[in-house]
């Protein structure tokens, strides 16, 4: 008895890692996706280990060394108009953009998934929820964000709230569509005929089966969230100086475009790379998770 129990716990992990490896291989088949994954990994790394990667405080001013060009001694990416180390600001900025990106996407997902599940599963809730979603869609994203920030004040946390609200309707539509296509499958009916509750069916069976489009959406939405955070900060609605946020850095560097172009170019390139990386990885995930390429249909 005990030996067979032991084998049951071991074998599945083997088969699971096998499908896991297969998935990675399929994902990395596209070279661009690999590049994107490396960029994301680098950003994660710098965000987590920011204090160990920098020697200067990102907000410490030193007017004696202001506007140093990249490659200067002690400041390899130069300094800004107040003599703050650009590398430190860039590294701490990656922390902020990642944090804002992840938290706004997670918040938006929670709201969108719950609304989508309910709208897809309960027919009587479908109309009200989807009309609400349509209403949210009718607002342009930046305008909605400005509204939220005007009401709640210019703080980074409010940017998170604004962006997550704006992510809710798209996510709700994706989840609703998946649930609609899944809820009449026979395995769902089998569950119902066994007497399974709605909660069990929704969260244990339907949600995992619509995970693929949600994962793709979340990855793509990371890119837009990071971009929007920078845009809002650039407009002065998000992070306030001296916070080392990339969009705010570009805004501050605008006045020195001719004398110190690196002040705008460096954070600009950082934003571009990160947004590019998340978009490419999202695209790759979509291909890799495509049911027509899934092992289910290969066998």
């Amino acid at each position: 008895m005990t030996t067979s129990a032991a084998t049951t716990t071991e074998t599945p992990s083997v088969s699971q890692t096998k499908t896991g490896i297969r998935f990675w291989r399929r994902l990395c088949r596209n070279r661009l996706v690999t590049v994107g994954l490396v960029i994301i990994a680098l950003q994660l790394f710098t965000a987590v280990f920011a204090p160990w990667l920098t020697t200067y405080d990102p907000t410490a001013q030193d007017l004696a060394v202001k506007e140093l060009p990249p490659g200067s001694e002690g400041h390899w990416l130069g300094t800004d108009e107040y003599g703050r180390d650009m590398w430190s600001r860039l590294v701490y900025g990656s922390r902020i953009s990642l944090l804002v990106g992840i938290s706004s996407v997670v918040l938006g997902l929670v709201g969108g998934v719950v609304l989508g599940l309910l709208a897809g599963y309960y027919r009587w809730l479908d109309g009200p929820i989807m009309r609400l979603v349509d209403l949210m869609f009718a607002f342009p994203g930046i305008l909605l964000a400005m509204l939220v920030i005007a009401m709640l004040g210019t703080r980074l946390i409010n940017v998170v709230i604004a962006i997550s609200i704006w992510s809710v309707p798209t996510c709700a539509r994706i989840v609703r569509g998946s649930v609609l296509s899944l809820k009449d499958r026979e395995y769902v009916q089998a569950l119902r005929s066994m007497g399974a509750g709605d909660g069990r069916i929704l969260f244990k069976h339907l949600l995992p089966n619509c995970a693929a489009p949600i994962i793709v959406f979340a990855t793509m939405r990371m890119a837009t969230a990071i971009l929007s955070t920078s845009a809002l900060s650039f407009l002065g609605l998000g992070a306030q100086p001296p916070t080392p946020e990339w969009g705010a850095m570009i805004a501050a560097g605008r006045d020195y475009m001719w004398t110190a172009p690196h002040l705008t170019i460096i954070p600009g390139v950082a934003i571009m790379l990160v947004v590019f990386a998340f978009n490419v990885v999202g695209d790759g995930l979509r291909d890799a998770l495509d049911p027509h390429m899934d092992v289910t249909y290969e066998s």
Binding site: E186, Q189, L191, M194, G195, H205, T296, Y297, S299
Partner: protein
Amino acid sequence: MAAPALVKLENLKKHYPRRSSWFRRSTGEVKAVDGISLELYAGETLGVVGESGCGKSTIGRTLIRLEKPTEGRIRFEGADITHLSSRKLKPYRRKMQMVFQDPFASLNPRQRIDDTLEEPLTIHQMLDKRARRERVWELLDEVGLDREHGERLPHEFSGGQRQRIGIARALALNPSLIVCDEPVSALDVSVQAQILKLLKSLQQKRGLSYFFISHDLGVVRHLCDRVLIMYLGQAMELASAFTLFREGQHPYTQALLSAIPRPVPGKKRERILLKGDLPSPSDPPSGCPFHTRCPEVRSVCRERRPEWKEIAPGHRIACHAR
């Protein structure tokens, strides 16, 4: 058949409202099941035969309360379960299970087989964790699968194996009734035979009742004790399989039987060809639903719905001409 019926349907109706997309106005009904009365006894197999869209699946689904009936009564072991709330229905759910047609859609693609089989036990809080695992192994063994198969995902199995898993899942709660909704129509002929054999041996071992929905007369003849012939949501004829296949009385039954290919060369049976198309169940013909295609149609057929009369013990028929 003096024993009390396991299931009794009394004038069961299931109508689906048809709504126009504009403001969801009701524009009539589809009468999927329109007044069916029958009994299903313990340990027997009742076959339900009919063309696609005649409501045979709907009866099965309504019978185990996957659908709410529009009218009529469902009695299970004498108890009226027609309008029970899902909580009160739960103890009855254990006793009636279903095997589905499509073995590729009937299993959660992301759930391991042993988890799929364990889930009904978890839902009904039967046994402890360890005993449940053992029960899962018993079930796998009972349907002819190995213990190791439990660790796999559905896509690693063939259609026949998946159907075995579907049967095992239906057996998990020890039901007395299993509704089989075309369980073999999606399978290869050789695999069909294996699955039918399995169903038969399980019935003998456990005394199961089957409500066997099919459009394959050969399969029904092989497996069923009694057969119900349906047309457009209504019952046409009900008799023991032996009687029905030898001397089915209803013109529709006779037309169906004449369409069975005969393996004996030279010996020809006259083929009764039905004219016209199957009428839409949203706008069924008046009177007898079969009158638009019936070779023996009379004027009364167009006006009055025939009675569900017993012409011999256990042999019922709805026809003016008989």
